[in-house]
């Protein structure tokens, strides 16, 4: 409901999202470059989004043995 606590919280997340979009879109104006804006995740805080969708963990992988290893890599 308008002006309920939940409404105000979501509205705040939206406002924060639009600030992020301005920052992210400022980097490149090349036509093919990524565009950022309002989507289905815009009323989530960054923490909510991370907790819901970014749950993969990384295990270190060995270097692909393609290129000759430089002295430092050796």
């Amino acid at each position: 409901e308008a002006h309920s606590e939940e409404y105000n919280l979501r509205h705040l997340h939206f406002q924060n999202a639009t600030k992020r979009h301005a920052y992210l879109n400022a980097f490149s104006t090349a036509p093919q470059s990524a565009k950022y804006g309002i989507n289905q995740f815009s009323d989530l805080s960054q923490k909510e989004f991370r907790d819901l969708y970014l749950r993969a963990s990384a295990d270190r992988a060995p270097l692909f043995p393609g290129l000759k290893r430089t002295e430092t890599e050796r």
Binding site: S28, S33, Q40, S42, Y53, A58, D59
Partner: protein
């Protein structure tokens, strides 16, 4: 290598899925790679059960998260056969593992490789063309706001938190890019896909890349 390569053109990539409010991206990326390679090997493209990996890959934590590598190790060691999505449908929550008899049909993982391709994304292209779609992990924090286009900036590497499926690449334009299938539904990004600039390990796309063998 061709300037542009896309496994979707060969009808071996299943439709974009939606993990919903469940941290199951790690299972979607592994199952996506297996069902594509199964089709490349000559079988009918069939969607395999993500829920089976979610419920049964015990070194992972279901909707609370997991690692594609641990899921691949589990599949290789147990030789579990993934059944069809219709037999064991996705529920977007962690459930009790359903077991099937050894005689039950399904797709088993024979082996997999995983490599760090940073600085060698040309070789990663070769792996994609040679072995099929690749399961990769990325830093997807900035993807919360992504609408489309080629990601080139403010996407770190070495801080991976999401798993995806690399299905192709396109180097015919000004900015060469990877074609990556995500699991957030078709209303996100480019109809469910994200484009990531090739070179510079943008978003950590080359940090840990797995190819599967059936």
């Amino acid at each position: 290598l061709p300037a542009r390569f896309d496994w979707r053109d060969k009808a071996v990539v299943a439709p974009v899925q939606n993990q919903q409010a469940c941290g199951s991206c790690w299972a979607f990326s592994v199952v996506g790679a297996m069902q594509s390679v199964h089709a490349i090997d000559g079988s009918q493209l069939a969607q395999l059960s993500v829920q089976q990996v979610l419920d049964c890959s015990f070194q992972n934590e279901g909707c609370n998260g997991g690692s594609p590598l641990r899921a691949l190790n589990w599949l290789k060691q147990t030789k579990v056969k993934l059944v069809s999505q219709s037999e064991y449908p996705y529920k977007a929550k962690t459930g009790i593992c359903h077991f099937f008899s050894q005689s039950h049909g399904g797709v088993a993982l024979k082996n997999f490789t995983t490599h760090y391709f940073s600085g060698q994304e040309e070789a990663m292209k070769g792996q994609l063309v040679e072995h099929g779609p690749l399961a990769a992990i990325v830093d997807a924090v900035s993807w919360q706001d992504y609408l489309g286009g080629i990601i080139q900036h403010h996407c770190s590497s070495q801080r991976s938190n999401h798993a995806v499926l690399v299905v192709g690449y396109d180097t015919t334009g000004d900015i060469p890019y990877w074609i990556v299938q995500n699991s957030w539904g078709t209303t996100w990004g480019n109809e469910g896909y994200v484009y990531i600039k090739i070179g510079g390990n943008i978003c950590g796309i080359a940090d840990s890349v797995a190819a599967v063998f059936l």
